[in-house]
């Protein structure tokens, strides 16, 4: 028997407010399940940013194209780790893939994940880098030569016809990829939104809110990475690109904010039986994370900052460094805001009793599988994966604007 757990729960007992069912003392989905939707959100958002280039032909953000694809892959690879480690029996996770119960939203995870990884992301990344990998295999020697050969699946075709096929394949994959990205994160929202027992979760808007907050977090994170990595790689930040990406981020934040506001107003106006306990929770347990971090710091402040740069860019020709700084602060704040959003959904949904008569509390631990340290590891692991991916599939030519010959959103031919 787990003595730590018993001690942990005994510490929570005196902090319970009102009445909760005896089995509700323990918060079952903790930090790891907060991390999971945050990570898949980044995946979906980064992919949507990439598809702006490929499908909607937004040429300004071309420097972000490969970076956002690799970011999506890095985060997608880490996503299942959070899920598997929170299980009571991590060793049995494969059951969900081998014997899924089709009526369960959660059982669809394997299919959605596999589809997104195999049919969309890996395929797109492969086609994007195919000719490059062939070229790199030529340049390198030894092990790396073989690695690139293997990564390109021993393809050698660099003919015009081959490259044309790459382009049309990419277009198709991206078009399939957009609904798939929507599916990936909308589905994560559905896991919560379909629980009728929990009024904090049970809402048709939840998958859509998840989706837009995903787009927000993904775009913001790729901008953040771009602004940090470019100077480190010795390049100059292309402000035209950042301006354009921030434009899209701005609209996404507005849509996300409006959706959440609509949901809030709807809830308050309908004022069903759970409203009393939910407002009590909002004003006590979630005040800091929801009202201060998620709404004030994570949404309104960045919106104000970005609006300021938009208004004053034309009138006062605000200097570029200041704009850069404001953007940087905004995308950073948005990350905290979206993480707080996930926190408020996941933890908030378990802090009130289903008897609607009381609140339990969440006590974070530092060590252990449900602890802060492991959560931080999971949050920063994708960055490490991304560093490896950037080494293997360097996007510098595109990111640092050296391959400017790529008109029409087409990829530069190897060596161009």
């Amino acid at each position: 028997m787990n003595q730590d757990l018993i001690r942990h729960l005994s510490e929570i007992l005196p902090q319970i407010q009102g009445f909760i069912y005896p089995n509700e003392v323990e918060i079952h989905w903790g930090m790891l399940i907060v991390v999971y939707p945050y990570i898949t959100g980044v995946v979906a958002g980064a992919f949507i940013l990439a598809s702006l280039v490929k499908v909607f032909n937004v040429k300004e953000v071309q420097p972000l194209y490969r970076l956002s694809l690799l970011t999506a892959l890095a985060y997608l690879l880490v996503a299942p780790m959070a899920l598997v480690s929170h299980l009571g029996h991590p060793g049995r996770f494969y059951e969900i893939l081998l014997t899924p119960q089709t009526s369960s939203a959660m059982a669809m995870f394997g299919f959605v994940y596999a589809w997104y990884l195999m049919a969309v992301l890996l395929l797109e990344i492969w086609f994007v880098h195919r000719t490059d990998m062939i070229a790199w295999a030529e340049e390198k020697t030894g092990v790396m030569r073989f690695v690139y050969r293997a990564l390109s699946l021993f393809s050698r075709d660099t003919s015009e016809r081959g490259i044309a096929f790459d382009h049309s394949a990419l277009k198709t994959i991206t078009i399939i990829g957009i609904p798939s990205a929507f599916l990936l994160h909308g589905y994560v929202g559905f896991i919560f939104g379909s629980i009728k027992a929990n009024p904090w979760w049970s809402s048709v808007l939840i998958p859509i809110v998840f989706l837009f907050s995903a787009i927000v977090s993904g775009i913001a994170l790729v901008i953040l990475f771009y602004m940090v990595i470019t100077p480190l790689a010795g390049g100059k930040i292309d402000m035209k690109c950042v301006d354009k990406a921030v434009d899209f981020l701005f609209y996404a934040v507005i849509v996300d904010f409006s959706l959440e506001l609509v949901e809030f107003i709807h809830r308050v106006y309908q004022s069903e039986e759970e409203i009393k306990i939910l407002s009590e929770m909002l004003m006590s347990k979630l005040f800091m994370s929801l009202i201060v971090i998620q709404v004030m710091l994570g949404m309104i402040l960045p919106l104000v900052l970005i609006s300021v740069t938009k208004i004053f860019r034309q009138r006062f020709s605000l200097n570029e460094d200041l704009r850069k700084m404001l953007y940087f602060i905004s995308v950073l704040l948005i990350q905290f805001g979206i993480f707080a959003t996930r926190w408020n959904v996941v933890i908030g949904g378990q802090m009130f009793s289903k008897s609607f008569r009381g609140l339990t509390t969440y006590k974070m631990t530092f060590g252990g599988l449900e602890g802060l340290l492991y959560a931080l590891v999971l949050l920063f692991l994708p960055v490490a994966v991304l560093v490896v991916l950037l080494k293997v599939l360097p996007p510098w030519k595109e990111m640092l604007g050296e391959g400017k010959g790529s008109e029409g959103g087409a990829l530069p031919a190897p060596g161009a």
């Binding site: 009445f19 005896p22 009571g88 059951e95 009526s103 959660m106 059982a107 027992a197």
Partner: protein, 249 residues
Amino acid sequence: MKGRRRFLRDFLALLFTGGAAGSILKLLPGTAQAKEAARTGKWYGYGVSVDKCIGCGRCMEACKAENNVPKEPFFVRTWVERYVIRKGGATAVNTIQPGAEPAPEGALDKSILRSFFVPKLCNQCADPPCVQVCPVGATFQTEDGVVLVNEKTCIGCRYCIQACPYGARYLSPVTHTADKCTFCYHRIAKGDLPACVEVCPTQARVFGDLNAAASPLSRFLRMNKIHVLKPGLNTEPKVYYASLDGEVR
């Protein structure tokens, strides 16, 4: 070549559309049909007379002993809630602690409007949301209407705990799998009563086959006005309450 390609295309299309249609049909409440079907075998249910419960807590003790439920108060298969409703509507609720001295307040306190005990347990819903959400089918409904957990296949994802509107489930700290009331399936399978029913000194708890013409449960259902918990969620609970107060959730 062309024929082969077309075959491949058609085959893939069929696979995708068929698979998608099939899974959507499955996602729709598939258990709904089961609910409507005429049942011929046993279909277990449970009755609770709120007026008869004296809050002694022996059911809680018996349950823990019978089913090896950890003794800590965070893991319970059945519990008894005490409601004290005062004039003006203020309601205080707590879970009784078996063995604890009963509070002396009560009969003499004129500010109390009404007060009563409500035994709770898994509602063994006919349309159980916990079964619907289990990703591996480890929690399932038996043919006689009892929802059970297979601790050998449960992966401990706790989705069922989130999906239960009644707080009836917990994660066992021993097996690390979901656990809940089984109506003492090992006992009822050989014709005995669940432990809580057996020990109840006032017969506030009644167990039986809903399909049986004559049983304590059918008599209970015939003689009382019946209500179930959270009927709006359409889970079709099979734990029926007599004289249930509107304050109880």
